[in-house]
Symmetry: C2
Subunit: 212 residues, 2 copies
Amino acid sequence: MNKTFYYHKEDFEKMQERYRAKFINSLSGFKSANLVGTKSKDSQTNLAIFSSFFHLGADPALMGCIIRPHTTPRHSLENIRETSTFTLNHINESFYQKAHRTSARYPREISEFQATGLTEEYIKGFFPPYVKEATIKMGLKLIREIPIIENNTVMLVCSVENVILCNDFIKSDGHIDIELAGTVCVSGLDSYHSTNLLQRLPYAKWRNDEQT
Amino acid sequence: MNKTFYYHKEDFEKMQERYRAKFINSLSGFKSANLVGTKSKDSQTNLAIFSSFFHLGADPALMGCIIRPHTTPRHSLENIRETSTFTLNHINESFYQKAHRTSARYPREISEFQATGLTEEYIKGFFPPYVKEATIKMGLKLIREIPIIENNTVMLVCSVENVILCNDFIKSDGHIDIELAGTVCVSGLDSYHSTNLLQRLPYAKWRNDEQT
């Protein structure tokens, strides 16, 4: 590796704001790419792109995400607080450009479903809309908000209430082949990537005689 | 999409434990792939794979991660608590198999650096070791632990203290091309993927005359 540079945190502070946002956003690695579908009590739907959802636990099935209440996805947050429910829809290679367009600042009365041409889908009485075009989608429930006082963001702790997907994606051991499903990932603020499986690796053992 | 199945959360509870772990772990989407380097006060080094790091904020530069204190990476957590510092090293396509092997349950006195053949590197007096083979690496400081009472996990809030990388990866706008750097991503518990850039998309606007 030639030309290795060392940046100290004082160097971040000297960066221009947008430059810093892109630089620091890239550092954690690849991120999940999801569309959050919500509906207000007065039936206004909303769709917003999130790259901040992460796995919290399998038993019970929990997910977390980070929201900046004072910036773009505030309509989503208002709807989630009002109804405690939302849908999470994997962004697929076939519609990632439409998904990105949900990040524009539409007025409240415009649904990003209509604006982007993605389709609302209602399944088994769950209140907010799923994205019909998504090949993996879920219904989530807000359990708790945790304030992150260090930067005035909020972490949402959510339970997974239901999952809708094609059984062809599920391997015999429970692993879901999200690459086969066409799920994309994000790096930084605006870079979309498809994936190539390198390998699934077996449970790592220290010694061959170790009990798993 | 043929053969679409609907799973309710009661279905998760009926799944066998390892099946459920793999199934639920796949749901949030692609995950970051990092190696955490730590050193205890008595100079025992440790290296552990994490797929739970996420971006928290750019100003100040913050990252979060989820740790299960009662399972595998407990030596890492002990060292982080003892010294408040650790390194975060992007897992590269060239060494993802070695990185995966750090998840075996080595005894405390065995360093995963030695066990896997990855190389300790010390830079500018930062206490814990970086991974020499990593093309993007950082020094982090623990700021706060947040208990996630819903499943007895802990979220670490961490500040980014320094970043070491090749300047060739940094675009003129600050975005870091982590794909060019060879960074991989993870799905589920054990699936490693390289990426293909689809596109970087411009800032989304509702109308062409909107101010950015």
